[in-house]
């Protein structure tokens, strides 16, 4: 399982470590370049010092180095030395060499002219060093002038003055040690920073994700028995407020569904227990005293009545169960006329309820075609008309109205009846199983399952069954299916 805290911690720590490594490397490169330049400048100043000490006097080149240049010239780890060559007809010949070079024969720097700038070279003692080579034409010493005064040569003289090549070199030992110290420092500080940043990241992420834990803990406190609780979003960060809002919405829907389920279970258990209680008391009381055959016959008839009702209840519950579980019914190939279905069902319902034709009015385009399963359509429409006749305030002046309509999107049938006793709260419960305006069990033989079954059937058709009340207290139940 992925953890936001873990992932974020790793991501931030790796990023910081990478950035620190890059920064450290860049710093090291800059420092090394600066130190090397400084090192090279020292080499260059030595070379130019040697150049200024070199004179051409009449016929030979001299270098006056007695104690003036490289006072530290000596053998050793940080050895520094120079070699000067002069070009003559016989090639390059060593003019001078520092004592620190001891007996080592330093080879003439290759390449003519020499490479510009300083280069890394291996020293004779195996250490790394840097050397700088310059070629120059020494100044000429003139008679009669000050010993140290020199002057540039004329063109004629210039040709006969030999070129001098000077190589100055120095061990990189000190430079490399300094660079190593700097690298070590940068690395150490970098490592410490990385460790510190990991700790800081963990802390920050833990702190940052604390509201998530708070939300999770609050959510964990809500169980099936406490679905009426809501998450308090007041102290949550703005990022979590919409999540808490959605969760609260979900909780409200869950609570509603659980409450509906509880009401259903309670009502179903009540309905199922009643006939058992009736039969039990009927038989127990019947058996408690000697009865005449006539009394027993009455008891048997009462018992059958109870069983009959229990059977109807079981069948209604099964219908509801099947309708609720039914997947969306496949659209039949044939189109049926819903107006004809309304007429048939109205006639059947009127005959069953004892009302006459004046108690139902039908206003629908004839035909009213719809692609719908004919048995389902008859069941739904029949249920709705039965319900209206049974529970509505029906008279010839206030008949049950069945209004059919059709447009491009849907076909609708609205069945309305005068229902002065119904309130808006009742409308909200109308489709709940076992809901009855009056809890009387055998007032008119209903269980309060008809509308629940109808709605489940309509849902299986992909349609809608909704109820509302107009201002004249007419209950309108609309049955809509896609055209």
């Amino acid at each position: 399982m992925t953890s936001i805290r873990r992932q974020t911690s790793i991501l931030v720590a790796v990023s910081i470590a990478g950035l620190l490594a890059l920064g450290g490397l860049a710093l090291f490169v800059v420092v090394r370049a600066a130190l090397t330049r400084q090192f090279d400048e020292v080499l260059a100043s030595r070379a130019s010092a040697l150049q200024s000490l070199t004179r051409f006097d009449v016929d030979e080149v001299e270098m006056d180095i007695a104690g003036e240049v490289m006072p530290r010239d000596q053998a050793g780890k940080d050895a520094e030395f120079f070699v000067a060559w002069v070009r003559s007809d016989k090639g390059w010949q060593v003019l001078e060499r520092s004592e620190s070079l001891l007996a080592v024969a330093w080879p003439l720097a290759a390449g003519v002219p020499p490479e510009p700038g300083a280069v890394n070279v291996p020293l004779s003692d195996g250490h790394a060093g840097r050397s700088l080579t310059i070629d120059f034409v020494p100044l000429t010493e003139h008679e009669g002038t000050d010993e140290h005064e020199s002057s540039p040569l004329s063109d004629g003289e210039q040709a006969s003055v030999p070129t001098v090549r000077v190589l100055v070199a120095q061990s990189r030992g000190a430079l490399d040690r300094t660079l190593a110290t700097i690298a070590l420092s940068i690395g150490g500080v970098g490592l410490a920073l990385v460790m510190a940043s990991i700790a800081a990241t963990r802390w920050a992420v833990r702190r940052g994700t604390r509201p998530l834990q708070t939300l999770s803990a609050r959510l964990a406190e809500i169980g099936p028995g406490t679905l009426d609780r809501r998450l308090n979003a007041d102290d949550l960060p703005t990022e979590l407020t919409p999540i808490a809002g959605r969760l609260n919405g979900l909780l409200a829907r869950l609570d509603d569904a659980f409450a509906r389920e509880r009401r259903f279970t309670s009502a179903a258990s009540h309905e199922l227990r009643t006939p058992i209680a009736e039969l039990r008391v009927l038989l127990e009381v019947g058996l408690s005293r000697g009865r005449t055959p006539e009394r027993w016959e009455q008891t048997a008839r009462d018992g059958l009545g109870v069983l009959d009702r229990a059977q109807r209840l079981t069948e209604a519950l099964l219908r509801l169960s099947r309708a609720s579980e039914g997947s969306r019914a496949a659209l039949p190939a044939a189109t049926i006329d819903l107006a004809a279905v309304i007429r048939e069902q109205a006639a059947r319902a009127l005959a069953a309820s004892g009302y006459d034709l004046t108690h139902v009015s039908i206003d629908a385009p004839d035909p009213l075609p719809a692609r719908i399963d004919p048995a389902l359509a008859a069941s739904i429409i029949g249920n709705l008309i039965d319900n209206a006749l049974r529970h509505g305030d029906v008279s010839a002046n206030r008949p049950v109205r069945c209004i059919g309509a059709r447009d491009a999107c849907e076909t609708s049938i609205v069945i309305s009846n005068h229902a002065p006793g119904l309130t808006d709260t009742d409308i909200a419960h109308l489709f709940e199983p076992f809901w009855r305006k009056d809890t009387a069990r055998d007032a008119r033989g209903g269980f309060g399952l008809g509308l629940a079954v109808s709605r489940a059937l309509v849902s299986s058709l992909g349609g809608q069954l909704i109820a509302d009340m107009d201002h004249e207290k007419n209950l309108r139940v609309s049955f809509r299916v896609p055209t």
Binding site: H270, T274, E278, L282, V285, D302, A440, R441
Partner: protein, 232 residues
């Protein structure tokens, strides 16, 4: 003992009424809450058997209205609701007992008998008045005759009359009160019904108790009757 049944199921209502009448109770039965409350207000019932889910006015509302009016009748709630919450709700509203459907009729009878007894401050099923013992559980009465015990042979109506007098032992009971508790709306009550029932009961007590037995039922002029051991 007079019992009111408020139950909307006709089968249950009729069977309960019949069973309770056969057990010697005077029973009135109604089908909805409103009529139940009206009955409870106009008659001094000993026990009201009240269904929870009722048309017009549910059982719980009837119960609260009864308790608000301080009606003394004991109430046995009868319902298919069986959760703890439901029971607690029923009992805290003022029900004296609670019976979940379906139930055994014998259990209902026993509970009604216990409630009726307690309604008159009697907790033991045996009420003893001198040599007379009324066993409210077995619905029988016995009387001491010397060292022997003789069981009285009583009709249900006579037993109920004796039980009611025994529950109120030592206190005078008016004829009107006896009529209210012993006869239901279906009974035809004549002006001398109570007097003749008392006469019959006295006769049986005297016959069973023998010549040494002191009279137990005394007439209070212009008031009614009182059951007590006459101590000289």
């Amino acid at each position: 003992m007079r019992v009111l049944i408020v139950e909307d199921s006709a089968v249950l209502r009729d069977s309960l009424a019949q069973g309770l009448r056969e057990a010697g109770y005077a029973v009135d039965a109604v089908a909805d809450g409103k009529r139940g409350l009206i009955h409870a207000q106009t008659t001094d019932y000993d026990v009201v058997v009240l269904d929870w889910m009722l048309p017009e006015m549910d059982g719980l509302s009837v119960l609260s209205a009864m308790r608000a009016k301080k009606l003394p009748a004991a109430v046995l709630m009868l319902t298919a609701r069986d959760t703890i919450d439901d029971k607690v709700r029923g009992l805290t509203t003022g029900a004296d007992d609670y019976l979940v459907k379906p139930f055994a009729f014998k259990e209902l009878l026993a509970r009604v008998a216990a409630l009726a007894r307690r309604r008159h401050g009697e907790h033991s099923p045996f009420i003893v008045v001198g040599p007379l013992t009324v066993d409210t559980a077995a619905k029988a009465a016995r009387i001491m005759r010397g060292a022997a015990t003789v069981t009285l042979d009583l009709t249900p109506r006579e037993y109920t009359l004796l039980e009611y007098l025994a529950l109120r032992a030592g206190k005078p009971v008016t004829r009107a009160e006896l009529e209210e508790h012993l006869y239901d709306d279906r009974s035809q009550v004549f002006s001398n019904s109570i007097d003749s029932a008392i006469a019959a009961l006295r006769g049986k007590l005297d016959a069973a108790g023998g010549p040494d037995c002191p009279p137990l039922i005394h007439t209070r002029r212009k008031v009614g009757y009182v059951l007590k051991e006459d101590t000289p």
